[in-house]
C-alpha cells in the first residue's frame, strides 16, 4: 500500500465518519497508525492485521438522534437481498408504508431464503444496507417510523 497525503486525508474523513478513534495498518512496506484526539493511556503495541479498530457501538446512522426512529435489525447471519429475485423491484421502497406481517427483505443463509417480515405497521424511512451485503445478528437493515 503506497500512501500519499490525499489518501491519508480520505482515510481521516472516513475514520471521523465512522467514529473510529484508532487505526493501524501494517504490511511489508509500511506501517500506518492514526489516532484521533488524545491517544489512549496505554500505547497499543499490537502489530496484528486488524484494519479498523472501533469501540463496539451501534451503527452511527445519520438520523439516529431522532427519538421516534426505530430500526429493523437482522435476526440472522446471512446475505441481505432487497428484492425477491435479481432484477425484480425491491420488496419495499423508501417512504413506503408497511403493515405488520409484510415482507421487507430476504436474508439468505445456507441457501435458504428467509423472508423478514415487519413486526408492526411503519413507514420505511431508509434502507441501511446494500443489496447483497453480508449481515450479522443485530445489523440494522431499515430505519422505520412506527405507525
Amino acid at each position: 500500500m503506497n500512501i500519499d497525503l490525499k489518501q491519508i486525508q480520505a482515510l481521516l474523513r472516513l475514520l471521523e465518519k465512522r467514529d473510529v478513534t484508532e487505526f493501524e495498518f501494517e504490511d511489508e512496506h509500511v506501517r500506518l497508525r492514526l489516532v484521533r484526539g488524545a491517544p489512549s493511556a496505554a500505547p497499543r503495541e499490537t502489530s496484528s492485521h486488524i484494519v479498523v479498530t472501533s469501540p463496539p457501538k451501534p451503527d452511527a446512522a445519520p438520523a439516529a438522534s431522532d427519538p421516534t426512529s426505530e430500526f429493523v435489525t437482522s435476526p440472522f447471519v446471512g446475505t441481505f437481498y432487497a428484492s425477491p429475485a435479481p432484477g425484480k423491484p425491491p420488496f419495499v421502497a423508501t417512504g413506503a408504508t408497511v403493515q405488520a406481517g409484510q415482507t421487507l427483505c430476504i436474508i439468505e443463509a445456507m441457501k435458504l431464503m428467509n423472508e423478514i417480515e415487519a413486526e408492526y405497521g411503519a413507514i420505511v424511512e431508509e434502507r441501511l444496507v446494500k443489496d447483497g451485503q453480508p449481515v450479522e445478528f443485530g445489523t440494522k437493515l431499515f430505519r422505520v417510523r412506527r405507525l
Binding site: H49, F76, V77, T79, A109, M110, E136, F137, G138, T139
Partner: protein, 445 residues
C-alpha cells in the same frame, strides 16, 4: 493448512485457539453473542460475526448460524473448543456435509467413544479395565451373589435413573437384600422402570485421565496422564500432571492398552480417557471425552507439546510426530487452578463488572484468561474466568509457585474462588498428594 478457521466458542479457550492459529499463520473468525461484542476473542480474531443474543441456544449452540457465519467469511474449518458443540456428532456431521473441516474426531468416533454405554462396551472389547458390574439383576438373591463375587462396597443403580436418584451404596452383605428392595421400589415409583444393576463402588477414588492424539486412523500418540481428583459436583477445580501416584510402569501399561484400543477403532484428533483409581491403585475406565479439555495446559507444560496446534495440524492432514507413550520424557510437575466467578465458600455464581484485574506472571507461570479489567462477566455462560498454571521441577515447587501466583492475582468487583485455591494448597493432605474426589468436600476455611 487451512485458509481460515472459525472458532465456535468463547472465553479463554477461544483465545487459546486463536493463539494456536496465529502460530500456524492461519486467519481466524470469532463468532459471538451480542453481549460478548467487547470480549477478548472478538478483539483478537481477524474477523468477528455476531450470530445471536446472549442465550447460548441462540448463539454459541446455534448450528445454522455458525455455519452461515463460516460461509459468509469463507472459513474452511471450524474449531469447537470444549463444551458447547465440541461433542455434538450432528454438528460434526453437518460441517462435513457443508465442506467445512470439523477440528476434532469423526462423527462416527464421537458416537462410538462419546456415548457412555457404547464407550464402556468398546473399552471392554478392547481389553481396557472396567469397573466390575452386572447387567439387570433378576432379584435380591442375584444381587447378593454378584455383590459377594465383586466384593463390597457396591452400588445399586436404577437402569432408568439419573441425576443421583435411584442409587444406594451397600457396604456389607447384611444390607443387600433390603437395599435391593428399596431401590427397586424407588425405581418403579420414580422412573416406572424397576430394572436394577450393580457395580463396584470406590469410596475414595482418584480421577486419572490419559491424553491422547490420533494423528491418523491407526496411529495414536499418548502424552501421559493428568490427575483431576480435586472436584466439586463433578466439576474439576485443580488439575495436575503427572499424577503423584502413577509410576512409569503403570503409565506405560495404561498408555499401551489405550493406544491399542484407539488405534483399532481408528480414532483421530485429541481425546482423553478418564479412569477411576481405587485404594489399591487399580484403574477402571469410566468414559472418554472426544475433544480438547480445559486442563490440557498441564500436559503441555510437562511435555513441551502444543496440543492445540498439533490438533489443528492433524485436522489439516499434515504429518504430526511427537515422542509418545514410553518414549515421551515428562519434565517436572505442573498444576492448574481454575479461577471461577463464584463465591469461594458457597460456590454461588458471581457475575458482574470486573473493576480491577491483574494476572500473575513470572518464570514458569502461565495464565490462560478470557477476561480483563472493565469486562462484564455475564450470568449465562460458565463461570470460568481464567486458568493459572505453574510448573516446577518437583510437585512441591509447582505448589509453592502457585501459592505466589494466587497471591498476585487481583480480580476486583466480583467474587472468585481464589481463596478456595489458597486453602486447598495449604491443606496437609493435598500438599502430601493424598487426594480423592471427596477431598474438596472436607475443606474448611
Amino acid at each position: 493448512m487451512f485458509g481460515k478457521i472459525l472458532i465456535a466458542n468463547r472465553g479463554e479457550i477461544a483465545l487459546r485457539i486463536i493463539r494456536a492459529c496465529r502460530t500456524l499463520g492461519v486467519p481466524t473468525v470469532a463468532i459471538h453473542s451480542d453481549i460478548d461484542a467487547a470480549a477478548l476473542h472478538v478483539r483478537f480474531a481477524d474477523e468477528a460475526v455476531c450470530i445471536g443474543p446472549a442465550d447460548p441456544r441462540k448463539s454459541y449452540l446455534n448450528i445454522p448460524q455458525i455455519i452461515a457465519a463460516a460461509e459468509m467469511t469463507g472459513a474452511d474449518a471450524v474449531h469447537p473448543g470444549y463444551g458447547f458443540l465440541s461433542e455434538n456428532a450432528e454438528f460434526a456431521e453437518l460441517c462435513r456435509r457443508c465442506g467445512l473441516t470439523f477440528i476434532g474426531p469423526t462423527p462416527e468416533a464421537m458416537r462410538l467413544w462419546g456415548d457412555k454405554a457404547s464407550a464402556r462396551e468398546t473399552a471392554r472389547r478392547h481389553g481396557l479395565p472396567l469397573l466390575p458390574g452386572t447387567g439387570v439383576l433378576k432379584d435380591a438373591a442375584e444381587a447378593a451373589a454378584q455383590a459377594a463375587d465383586i466384593g463390597y462396597p457396591i452400588i445399586l443403580k436404577a437402569a432408568g435413573g439419573g441425576g443421583g436418584r435411584g442409587i444406594r451404596i451397600v457396604r456389607s452383605p447384611s444390607e443387600i437384600t433390603s437395599a435391593f428392595e428399596t431401590v427397586t421400589t424407588e425405581a418403579m415409583a420414580g422412573f416406572k422402570n424397576p430394572d436394577i444393576y450393580l457395580e463396584k463402588f470406590i469410596e475414595e477414588p482418584r480421577h486419572i485421565e490419559l491424553q491422547i492424539l490420533g494423528v491418523e486412523p491407526g496411529r495414536v500418540l499418548v502424552f501421559g496422564e493428568r490427575e483431576c481428583s480435586l472436584q466439586r459436583r463433578h466439576q474439576k477445580v485443580v488439575e495436575e500432571a503427572p499424577s503423584p501416584v502413577m509410576t512409569p510402569d503403570k503409565r506405560g501399561a495404561l498408555g499401551d492398552s489405550c493406544q491399542k484400543a484407539l488405534e483399532e477403532t481408528g480414532y483421530t484428533s485429541l481425546g482423553t480417557l478418564e479412569f477411576l483409581m481405587d485404594e489399591h491403585g487399580d484403574l477402571f475406565f469410566m468414559e472418554m471425552n472426544t475433544r480438547l479439555q480445559v486442563e490440557h495446559p498441564v500436559t503441555e507444560m510437562i511435555t513441551g507439546i502444543d496440543l492445540v496446534e498439533s490438533q489443528i495440524r492433524v485436522a489439516a492432514g499434515e504429518r504430526v510426530d511427537h515422542p509418545s507413550g514410553r518414549q515421551l520424557e515428562l519434565c517436572g510437575h505442573a498444576i492448574e487452578c481454575r479461577i471461577n466467578a463464584e463465591d469461594p465458600r458457597t460456590f454461588a455464581p458471581w457475575p458482574g463488572l470486573i473493576t480491577e484485574y491483574h494476572a500473575p506472571g513470572g518464570r514458569n507461570v502461565r495464565v490462560d484468561s478470557g477476561v480483563h479489567g472493565g469486562i462484564r462477566v455475564p450470568n449465562v455462560y460458565d463461570p470460568l474466568l481464567a486458568k493459572v498454571i505453574t510448573h516446577g521441577a518437583t510437585r512441591a515447587e509447582a505448589i509453592a509457585r502457585m501459592r505466589c501466583a494466587l497471591d498476585e492475582f487481583i480480580v476486583g468487583g466480583i467474587r472468585t474462588n481464589i481463596l478456595l485455591h489458597k486453602a486447598l494448597l495449604r491443606d496437609r493432605d493435598i500438599v502430601a498428594g493424598k487426594l480423592s474426589t471427596r477431598t474438596i468436600e472436607r475443606i474448611r476455611f
